[in-house]
């Protein structure tokens, strides 16, 4: 069975989707679509895709795809997704799924009603280091989660950030939570999985730290700290546009062990109690840490040799699981409940950021 795939939205994230789909034996990209025909044409030309459209409804009617990837700016996600579901398509939607959790819930409910599968492009949800952490938790190596620290560094002058700075009408400026809304899925979806409280206490602090942003004459907070307090667990999330080097990590503090997941370098290391007593234990500990890094480096070399060391390896895994689920009618890889809990947290944070912005004038 070959699954016919179409993509709508030929902007910055389209290449990641196309590359991911092309790795799947069961899928074939039949068409791409963008409101700007030139964007659709160039993507089709670069990847040798036969058809391109500027009208999404026309694409649905002519190509009749089985799966649609939606990589457009967030304000258009829900309407495009609803149309695709009505046309009988399964969906991969870029994050954020919708502009708020109510819209997200409506979209998911619609997909369930029509028995279509939907997933969200959580790039890091299935990153190899997260999959390893899940295994350690499952095997009870970590114990129970006590606290989580999620850090997501961002470069506003990088390939994703600079278009936002160079255009004051960029769609990111118009999101309810602005820059944060476009990023927070990455920061929070690593927390919610291990912090099961339905209504944790959430407190967000934000500010604008970039000097060059003042040239833009617009309000774009770019530093965020979030504290999430549950009944038995807590979490701290930090989004930073100014700390260097740009880092991306998660620290899982468990009742038995603490794990540090470095997404930039794709390593997971454990901070364990030393088996040696007193000063000997302290002397030995850095060597034990060093050995873990050597082991992780070696593992990455092996993964590279097996062609499993792509930058978006977690996204590739997500797609392979999602498409496998379509072929064999399996549950979706990211539970809808998780997607909605993240969306609710984003709503709360965006609301607090707006209030703080209004207070500061």
């Amino acid at each position: 069975m070959t699954i016919k795939v179409a993509l709508v939205g030929c902007g910055k994230t389209a290449d990641m989707h196309i590359s991911g789909i092309r790795k799947l034996n069961a899928a074939r990209i039949v068409a791409v679509c963008d409101i700007e025909p030139l964007m659709a044409e160039q993507l089709a030309a670069r990847y040798g895709i036969a058809n391109f459209y500027s009208d999404f409804d026309e694409l649905l009617a002519i190509e009749k795809p089985d799966v649609v990837h939606i990589a457009t700016p967030p304000p258009s996600h829900v309407s495009l997704a609803m149309n695709a579901i009505d046309a009988g398509c399964h969906l991969v939607v870029e994050k954020p799924l919708a502009l708020d959790s109510c819209e997200a819930a409506q979209l998911i409910a619609h997909a369930e009603r029509r028995a279509r599968k939907l997933t969200i492009a959580y790039t890091y949800y299935f990153d190899p280091v997260v999959r390893m952490l899940r295994r350690l938790v499952r095997e009870k190596v970590m114990g129970e989660a006590v606290h989580l620290e999620s850090f997501f560094g961002y470069n506003l002058n990088g390939p994703f950030g600079s278009p936002i700075l160079s255009d004051r009408d960029h769609w990111v400026h118009k999101l309810p939570g602005k820059l944060f809304q476009n990023i927070l899925d990455h920061l929070l979806n690593k927390i919610t999985e291990f912090l099961p409280d339905e209504k944790p206490l959430v407190k967000a602090y934000s500010w604008q730290g970039a000097d060059r942003l003042h040239q833009l004459d617009c309000d774009l907070p770019d530093e965020l700290r979030v504290i999430v307090i549950g009944e038995k667990q807590s979490a701290h999330g930090a989004f930073s546009s100014h700390s260097r080097p740009v880092q991306h990590f998660l620290t899982f503090y468990g009742t038995k062990n603490t794990a540090h997941l470095d997404f930039e370098n794709s390593t997971i290391t454990l901070a364990r109690d030393s088996v040696l007593p007193g000063v000997l234990g302290r002397l030995a500990s850095p060597f034990a840490q060093g050995w873990q890094h050597i082991r992780e480096g070696g593992r990455n070399v092996l993964r590279f040799a097996r062609s499993e060391y792509h930058f978006f390896e977690g996204f590739n895994y997500l797609l392979s699981e999602f498409y496998r689920g379509i072929v064999h009618d399996l549950p979706v890889p990211i539970p809808y409940h998780e997607i909605l809990r993240v969306a609710v947290l984003i709503d709360q944070i965006a609301s607090q950021v707006r209030e703080e912005g209004a207070r500061k004038g």
Partner: protein, 340 residues
């Protein structure tokens, strides 16, 4: 006569503004982005007390901003292009922006001076040593080129299509490697090779480097914009007496800093390109296709570029090549922390 310069805050844009003032064009509008640094443009204006320099801030890929930009303008110097970033960003800033500009000027025919690139020619198919003049065909397979040239070829096609319909009085300039004393990125142009960490892989060998000092190039741009004979013409823009890649590197090492280089003859470059491309395909892009036989052949096969046409417009090199290289290297040496 009101003149618009897109991409005015860039390396070439600033030099074009200076040359336009120097040629007596004292009413300029610069289209810049919200985060563009215009301090250098301000300094240039201060040197011409009678000149008027307005800024229009916006995004040329927005039809509204493009319409606003061309209001009351007679001549457009279109320099804006996406130089770096993701493929989609480069394409939007080069091609979609050009489309919006063309749509905005449909009501009235105006002169547009388009800054294209020597890289748009279909040189991959041409034999070694071939002299590339303006009559050479554009690359028929832009999708096989790197994303920058891909976009530049597409951009030129768009403008040519409109010019053929008589909607634009088009002049195309195709500069070579722009260099000079205000561009920190001009040390190792891609026609020399690729910098991997601190090692430079040299693929350009003995090929002549089509260097164009930014002041010389800006002079050519302004001359072409002002000359009625230039209508409908294309011009290669490169300096005379340009050095080979190896000679340039030797001077760089002597005058700026030493650097480890590994030189690849052309057959080895092609072999390496085939390996990289095959590995890229086999591993589904685990490493990017930074080298492909098609691109390598276009870039490093050993073609020469002809600059006779621009001289017919009266263009003369303001800064001789030897002085231009010295000027650039002194600047780069300063960036590397050496005192003069």
């Amino acid at each position: 006569m009101k003149i618009l310069i897109t991409g005015a805050s860039g390396f070439l844009g600033r030099a074009v503004v200076e040359r336009l003032f120097a040629h007596g064009n004292l009413d300029l509008t610069c289209f810049v982005r919200a985060n563009s640094d215009v301090s250098v443009l301000d300094k240039i204006r201060n040197r011409y007390p009678h000149a008027r320099l307005d800024y229009l801030v916006g995004d040329l890929a927005s039809p509204d901003d493009a319409r606003r930009a061309v209001e009351g303008v007679e001549t457009i110097y279109h320099l804006a292009a996406g130089m770096r970033g993701l493929p989609a960003t480069i394409f939007v800033n080069t091609v979609v922006a050009s489309k919006c500009l063309l749509d905005a000027i449909q009501d009235k025919k105006r002169r547009v001076v388009l800054i294209s690139s020597l890289g748009v020619y279909g040189t991959s198919f041409l034999e070694t040593g071939r002299v590339i003049g303006e009559g050479t065909e554009l690359d028929p397979h832009p999708e096989k080129r790197n994303v920058y040239f891909h976009a530049k070829i597409w951009q030129e096609r768009l403008f040519r299509a409109q010019a053929e319909k008589g909607r634009v009085d088009l002049v195309v300039l195709r500069p070579g490697i722009l260099y000079g004393n205000a561009n920190p990125n001009c040390g190792f142009p891609s026609r020399i090779g690729i910098l991997v960490g601190s090692v430079l892989l040299v693929f350009g060998g003995g090929n002549p480097l089509p260097l164009s000092h930014v002041v010389n190039c800006a002079e050519a741009v302004v001359l072409a914009g002002q000359n009625a004979e230039a209508s409908g013409q294309s011009y290669n823009v490169l300096d005379d007496n340009v050095p080979s890649a190896i000679k340039y590197l030797r001077s760089y090492k002597h005058q700026v800093k030493n650097i480890t280089t590994i030189r690849f003859p052309f057959f080895a470059t092609m072999l390496l390109s085939q390996v990289v491309e095959k590995y890229h395909v086999k591993t589904h892009g685990q490493i990017p296709a930074v080298l492909t036989p098609y691109e390598s052949s276009a870039m490093w096969k050993g073609h020469q570029f002809d600059n006779q046409n621009i001289k017919k417009l009266g263009w003369k090199q303001i800064m001789p090549t030897e002085e231009a290289m010295r000027d650039t290297f002194v600047y780069l040496r300063g960036l590397n922390g050496h005192t003069q």
